[in-house]
Symmetry: C2
């Protein structure tokens, strides 16, 4: 069982554990420990405690550098949608981790192998074990292989405002300057309409209008995103 897992980790993620018992622990649910007391195993809960903090820092550092225009509140919100139970459970499945966790019979029969909270904990426990066994750089590499590409391909864009989502899509292959330009204002002061263009790399991507510059910019970004997604 552990052989199949170590083979997969090596082939897919170039990860080779020095201490296999740590990897085994990450894949051992408390229900399995309880049903096999004579084996004196340790479950993965302490590793999950550590892995949670490891993941939080890696994602925070990425967001901090990558979204330089986002204020703290929006960074926090974005982080919460990436580092949440549902999303981590999905990543655990994508990594094929669900096949390898050792569960007690009761947990297995009640479909624990597909339960979000269990899979989320498993993902964090694996990351905790990786961090201890291989250090922070390898934990970083793993997250940059598994999670960051999803962020960059827009998997969390629905959680961002349109301007942020557009920046995300345009800058995934490197820095590109995005410019919002007020091109026209019309109407009386109490009912003014603003028209804004968004340009990137010297190319006009969209035009938006609204009762404030802010709203017009969001509209322009929304239009640009719609166009880009159709290509």
């Amino acid at each position: 069982m552990i052989e199949a897992l170590t083979k997969e980790l090596k082939e897919t993620y170039q990860v080779v554990f020095k201490d296999i018992s740590l990897l085994e622990q990450a894949f051992t649910h408390s229900s399995y420990v309880n049903e096999h007391r004579h084996l004196e195993l340790t479950d993965n809960e302490r590793l999950e405690f550590l892995g949670d903090a490891v993941l939080e820092l890696i994602i925070s550092e990425y967001l901090y550098h990558h979204f330089q225009d986002l204020p703290e509140g929006k960074l926090t919100k974005l982080r919460a949608t990436i580092v949440c139970e549902d999303s981590l459970a999905k990543f655990a499945k994508e990594c094929g981790f669900d096949a390898h966790i050792r569960l007690g019979k009761g947990e297995e029969n009640s479909n624990g192998r597909n339960r979000s909270s269990l899979l989320c904990d498993l993902f964090e426990a694996f990351l905790g074990a990786l961090f201890i066994d291989q250090g922070s750089q390898k934990a970083n590499d793993f997250i940059y292989q598994v999670i960051i590409p999803k962020i960059e391909s827009g998997a969390f864009s629905h959680e961002m405002d349109h301007k942020t989502a557009l920046q995300e899509v345009l800058q995934k292959n490197g820095d590109i300057s995005i410019e919002y330009k007020l091109v026209r204002e019309e109407g009386p002061a109490h009912n003014r309409i603003f028209h804004v263009e968004v340009n990137a790399g010297g190319k006009l991507l969209g035009i938006g209008s609204g009762k404030s510059k802010k709203v017009a910019e969001q509209k322009a970004a929304e239009v640009a995103l719609g166009d880009l997604n159709q290509k």
Copy 2:
């Protein structure tokens, strides 16, 4: 102002920032930015977002390795008492950070310089700046100079159970084996009393009694702690 801060950081913590503007940003409250718009400053909130995650990981890693017998639930509780607003505000004051933060007039007049949430954010922002400017090892060193000694001297012991607190005190200068021994049981099965001794380094430190081994062990640890604290 920034000169006094850089001098203190160098003398007390051997910390010398490469990018002084990052240090200045960490010590700039949003109220100051709002009152000095022409200076186009950036406040410390994004740095606080990052520093929060940096601190969480450093403390988690320390607790994980240092309290090997604590289950996940107790590690989480202990972490929460160390990484909380009140405690971080105290650390900010102990570091003398409150003297250096740039506040707006309104914030200053309403005693913002002594407000827990503001000081807690400042501490985290400094740590975020330190992490970016100097890397994770230096951020680690700083926390091991400022926070870890407090944990080891028992500042958070009231949040631990007695056995954990005793372990904390005894093991601060290295590993020492602590042994709990059931020395006597008495009374009928439905009302049994257990007597437990706690020994460390071959020396008897305390005796405790209770209706379960677990309770008797906690009592023994409590007695031992009381004795140690009187020395």
